[in-house]
Subunit: 422 residues, 2 copies
């Protein structure tokens, strides 16, 4: 499903290929993961996730741009400063945000407890939280959960049990998510196999520049922290940052990646290119799953914008359309209201000539040169009755293009968010 | 209800005062207005509004910043270039946007028909439309409506009938609006009385920088077009541009003002200050009525931000909170989720220290220094159960302040916008 780069000079050399695997964050060599029930908010939900690398790993992260930053986020940024980490601990049920000193203490307690239980340095533990803002963490319960997780994390007797334990970690970071988001893949090179595993959560409060979104990625590739950071920052721009559910960005969001080198070899330049493709595909897949699971969503929305002068313009337009409440309600209502699509492009801040814009709903051309065409309402209705809706906007300004993902705006969204805290 | 400036040097001089009047856009001397049923979309709805000044008036306008501009808007901007106009004609039921050459022709036909029927210059007619985008105007019906309106506009036998006719004009510009928005007021000076009348429409697709919003203001004051433009541009910033319903700005929006000088005297500098106050109050009142009538709204939301370094920061924060889907759904659900308020401030783009922010719901302090306080859930619930909700955010960065208005996000909003076009 993902485009694999085939820019080979030597067609005779068999090219390495990557492929999707069953499983999640525990798949790469030297990584283990588990989720436990610490009863933080809901007594019967996995709510503490622990991911552990047997050796210190190169580490990188990207974080919310919200001025209001949760306590664990501040700590994690600090712990990432040296580019090394060995464990990631996360909880759902409480965001540990905006509670002052007790919040800083709770985040630090989570790191030290994890370090102590695993016999590693506290500075090598990355901490993440998600849930309601402004309520103090029930720290004791969380720490108990971490203790339990650090015991269970080495108990898997076989790869099937290890997979199940990692699946529990993915369950433990969910809040209003309806689907578990975990992926794994591998790249077969001449020197050996590189694996990548990941899990994410996110469903509402999602918007470019991180909504309440957590992403955790592991790989056994050997990649220096600086390269890992560059790879992540770049991949996030075309994946997580192109998802919009409701325009609200959160205080807690981050995507973290650990690379522990346990595959045991250096990537060649051409393998590195392949690895980058795989890494980007993983980010994109998780981003799409987050959009698909948007709070109350009944439809998945993909907006492709082509032919802008700059990449920034393409992204602006795609995100503006994808985030428009009026477009989202029209998609929900299966109404081919293309005027709203053009209007959303118009207020995106991007520069373009509105009289040279074509709009497609699925395969149906609904507007040409900025004006409506006589399209078949029936065909448009057929497109809009699907669960996956594709909108394509073609401009004539240049060669740049971008894609954004989102979902429709439904009654259910209002219901979910009318009583989230209580 | 509105603050009246009392910065007088000479306390002995009786200050002129302004007050609200019954009536609308037809109230100032030398103006007439009427609405008729042209059957543009709904056969039993007033849908063409005509406002006429007996003499050419000074004129000014502000327009949507959407890159996609409706056909009448382009024409009206052109007709405003010389600062003079004598009539405003508007229709609901069709936006006359994004339909190409026929759209330009339809807007021009509306202007010429109005001019011909009233015996004035086509260049002195301002045209506005609101309704669905991308559908060709039923021009013949609109022109027939204009013809009828230009006959009816001089038929009012007394002030009561004139008031009723102007009320029909206000009805004619409504789309999904549930309330008629018209106001009038007068300023009594030593030289005589100055009157101001206005009507507006707007309910969804409302956002800073004009959502689908039309505003028409008349006054018999004698004000040069340049001063009128400066006054309008300034007043709009703190009124119409501080309203947000769903974040979507439209292709059609404008606020127009005509000043025909028929009061028969020049405003003294102190009267001018008073007139400015009155003008701003009119814009603010219409803006609030638009927010209150937000599509599907069950609650009116006022967000006051105080203590920022710059006015721009205060506006950014107020609008960001007022426009947050999560804040809006929490208000709908009567959930005192102040974390969302702080988070929305955090992603507003404004510069501030999140640890020096206090938040009030009504009179209830819910967060101090960026952290939750132990407030009474009962008291907060009582505040949130009202129809008018006030949120106050107090920062400690400076002296600037701003207020934004909006409404909650409800099931009804989704229903209305899921099937607007069809």
């Amino acid at each position: 499903m993902e485009k694999i780069s085939q820019k080979s000079e030597n067609i005779a050399t068999p090219k390495p290929k990557w492929s999707w695997l069953d499983g999640g964050i525990g798949i790469p060599q030297g990584f283990r993961a588990v989720g436990v029930k610490a009863k933080i908010k809901n007594p019967d939900k996995y709510d503490v996730a622990l991911v552990y690398s047997e050796v210190p790993a190169q580490a990188a992260g990207v974080f919310t741009r919200n001025k209001v930053k949760a306590h664990p986020l501040i700590l994690t940024k600090k712990h990432l400063a040296n580019g090394i980490a060995q464990a990631m601990v996360a909880n759902s049920g409480n965001a540990n945000a905006c509670v002052g000193k007790p919040g800083d203490e709770a985040a630090w307690a989570m790191a030290t407890k994890t370090a102590q239980a695993l016999g590693i340095k506290a500075e090598d533990v990355l901490v993440a939280s998600t849930g309601v803002i402004g309520v103090e963490m029930p720290v004791e319960r969380v720490l108990k959960g971490i203790e339990q997780a650090s015991i269970e994390i080495s108990q898997a007797a076989d790869s099937q049990q290890a997979k199940q334990a990692a699946h529990q970690a993915a369950l433990a970071i969910m809040t209003t998510d309806l689907t578990v988001k975990e992926v794994a893949c591998e790249l077969v090179t001449e020197q050996g196999v590189i694996r990548l595993g990941a899990m994410a959560k996110g469903s509402g409060m999602i918007h470019p520049n991180m909504g309440t979104m957590l992403g955790f990625i592991t790989t056994d590739a050997d990649i220096p922290a600086a390269d890992l950071q560059a790879l992540l920052t770049d991949a996030v721009e075309d994946s997580f940052n192109m998802v919009t559910v409701d325009g609200d960005t959160s205080t807690n969001d981050m995507v973290l990646v650990l690379a522990n080198g346990q595959a045991g070899f250096q990537l060649s330049p051409s393998d590195w290119a392949e690895f980058q493709e795989m890494f980007r595909a993983v980010c994109k897949k998780l981003a799409q799953e987050i959009a698909r699971d948007g709070e109350g969503a009944s439809k998945f929305l993909e907006v492709k914008v082509k032919g802008t002068q700059t990449l920034a313009d393409a992204r602006l337009i795609a995100k503006s359309i994808c985030g428009s409440s009026l477009v989202k309600t029209a998609v929900f209502g299966e109404d081919a209201n293309w005027g709203r699509i053009l209007a959303a492009a118009g207020y995106s801040g991007a520069d373009f000539d509105p009289e040279r814009v074509d709009i497609y709903l699925g395969h149906v051309l609904v507007a040409k040169d900025g004006q409506g065409v006589n399209f078949s309402e029936e065909e448009a209705k057929e497109v809009l009755s699907q669960k996956d809706i594709s909108i394509q906007v073609v401009l004539q300004e240049g060669e740049a293009q971008a894609t954004a993902w989102g979902c429709d705006l439904t009654h259910e969204y209002v219901t979910i968010n009318g009583s989230y805290r209580t």
